[in-house]
Symmetry: C2
């Protein structure tokens, strides 16, 4: 079998409390997440043979991970793919384990953003032709607001009606976050609070936007045939996928601006590897990239949970709620965890791992297929995206 | 066989002219290198199934590669490991091909430094505890100058004698560079010129230091069993290795400051995979990280080309010259190509690929074992390194 399917197992995971971690350095967050993963797997740092660090701006070189963990001269790859950095690190680690290069590896995603905020897009290398031109003057919320209005228009949804649909997603995720001890925001909100919140960029209000947070998460991977030596309830990697866009060309020429093609491609690749023909029926839960509620709405369609243009029906029917047919963002998502870029993808894998093991406490969902999906997506609709998907399944699934 | 050995083949390579490329953007350099690799392999961009971008500062996200090459929504990983970024990208691509995830992938290393210079170490994220403290106030040459004096002292080499040994390395590399049409500097120098050049940081003079340059290089990889469909003289990946250090702790506590442990570990890993027991006898040529001549000197020892402390004897004997027993930096090395960080590792693989194929023109070395080694090493002796090694062999080697 080519690729990673059923060759790689997750045998330990860790995740910090996300939020305002003013008193913690990047290294402190790495230690907090990784030591939880070591303990969960019953390992020590010296057992790790290679590591992957996923971070967009909170580190440079493998030593960012080597120093705080005292990893002795092992290979450490630092991966950056902005919001998909954590997933990309995880996927590359899977390839290395799947080809037999290592038996035990560590993946850590980390980002510390509260001190610095998001670096301003456009403030990059002046020798690159395109980055500055495309990004300057945009904050992430601006193009997503344009996207929301365009989506509403395309499907004939009155803006106030559209805002109510998005608010329902925010209410759902805040409810789930209230059951997540590690979330940045653990407070439930009402539909009225969401709709009456200050507008950030019309039609998106405060509760349509995820927060800026600090956080880290970590995973220990091994070869599938070794996993039973570490635990019975290990989780297998069933399929991975990525899709990387090409700047604004496709927006202007080819895009309707009502979907994100990169997510479609990434999920198609992962579904093919995992052998999932009907995602709506075959997946128990999904953690997806709800940087803004409109993004979660369109992700339902891009991941083929619902037909194109029909996401709102799913929202109205409660399909994606904790007790719905296909719960999405069961831990509260980016909405409640905030979005420390490199950490988010690995944090999602942490949630799916715990859910598949039946260890998600008050937010535990029903596990029927023993399959969960995670998804991050970097970029904005007016430049381009990098989307990444990892599908996990409980042993034997 | 675990790992990558004999599972991955290089079937096409490209490399730009290195140097002052004021009129070219990062994207232009990517196009120049990658299209040479496509042509060499007889492929088109649309044939590429996944890609890895190695760059330290000249890009962000996979789209840096996707846009100029119009790679349609494929997975693209961006790897950063400072000076080892190119090698690290190459190694991760090897893992993905070796596990069967893709049949045809692209690796591109690129950096454009002439416009910006080297970003100042220490000017990093203030939320990281250690980077700033270690790096501030150091330029790369400063710790290498300390290292040189310490090395001379440790082995009882008078400083003027040590400078003469280093100058011989510079003379060798400038000779080789004079035969490299793509090198930044293609001018031979004399021992006297090297010794009388302005001092940059005692005992290192101008010709002990590599230049700042722009450049890019690219490789097309496929599964070994598919390689013969593309060309007869494909090159196999025989072994890869990396070693990542942990900041200054080991310098102060454990290091003699006369070797770089990361290079020892990276090469040990690669030698084991490639089955090389005696590197001095088993390798036809090596491209190594001569950011400063003292680094090349100690690399001879760290790669086990000579016993510890005996590198100067090899230099005096001409062992590493073009017609010597084990030619090193046959294209002129970083000394003559400059060091566009992400590009350097892939540029080295380009040289070894051409040499193994017998296509290195005036600088062609004798190929007996059909094995070549490449090595980059990020960092400085007073913070920490990331070393990476890739060993390549002609088909059937």
């Amino acid at each position: 079998m080519p690729g990673v399917r059923d060759k790689v197992a997750v045998i330990g995971m860790g995740c910090t409390k996300f939020g305002e971690r003013w008193d913690k350095s990047v290294e402190d967050l790495i230690v907090e997440a990784c030591y939880e993963s070591f303990e969960d797997a019953g390992l020590k740092p010296k057992d790790i043979q290679a590591a992957w660090l996923g971070t967009a701006w909170s580190g440079e070189l493998g030593r960012t991970l080597a120093y705080p963990l005292k990893l002795g001269f092992i290979p450490i790859t630092r991966v950056e793919n902005r919001c998909a950095s954590g997933h990309d690190a995880f996927i590359n680690a899977c390839y290395a384990v799947a080809c037999g290069a290592f038996d035990l590896v560590l993946v850590c995603g980390v980002e510390k953003l509260k001190d610095t905020g998001l670096p301003i897009p456009g403030d990059y290398n002046p020798t690159q032709l395109y980055t500055s031109r495309v990004d300057t003057g945009f904050l992430p919320v601006t193009p997503w607001a344009m996207f929301a209005l365009r989506y509403f228009h395309h499907y004939g949804i009155p803006v106030e009606e559209g805002r109510r649909i998005l608010a329902k997603i925010a209410v759902k995720n805040h409810f789930n976050g209230s059951l997540s001890p590690k979330a940045q925001f653990q407070r439930r909100i009402t539909l009225e609070e969401a709709l009456n919140a200050p507008v950030v960029a019309w039609p998106l209000g405060l509760y349509d936007c995820c927060g800026i947070a600090d956080g880290a998460a970590a995973a220990i991977l091994t070869r599938a045939d070794l996993a039973k030596n570490f635990r019975d309830d290990y989780v297998l990697v069933k399929g991975v996928g990525m899709g990387c866009g090409m700047y604004q060309g496709q927006v202007m020429d080819d895009w309707s601006l009502v979907h994100v093609e990169e997510t479609v491609r990434a999920s198609r690749m992962a579904y093919a590897e995992a052998g999932i023909k009907n995602p709506r029926k075959g997946i128990d839960l999904a953690e997806v990239h709800d940087c803004f509620t409109i993004h979660e709405l369109v992700i339902y369609e891009d991941l083929s949970f619902v037909p194109r243009g029909r996401a709102r029906e799913g929202v109205e029917a409660g399909t994606f709620e904790l007790k719905g047919e296909l719960p999405v963002n069961t831990d509260g998502g980016l909405k409640c965890f905030g979005h420390p870029l490199g950490a988010s993808g690995v944090r999602m894998i942490y949630e799916v791992y715990k859910q598949l093991q039946g260890k998600a406490g008050q937010r535990q969902v029903e596990i029927r297929n023993q399959i969960g999906l995670t998804h991050t997506c970097a970029g904005t609709p007016v430049d381009s995206h990098t989307a990444a998907v990892a599908i996990l399944g409980l042993r034997g699934a």
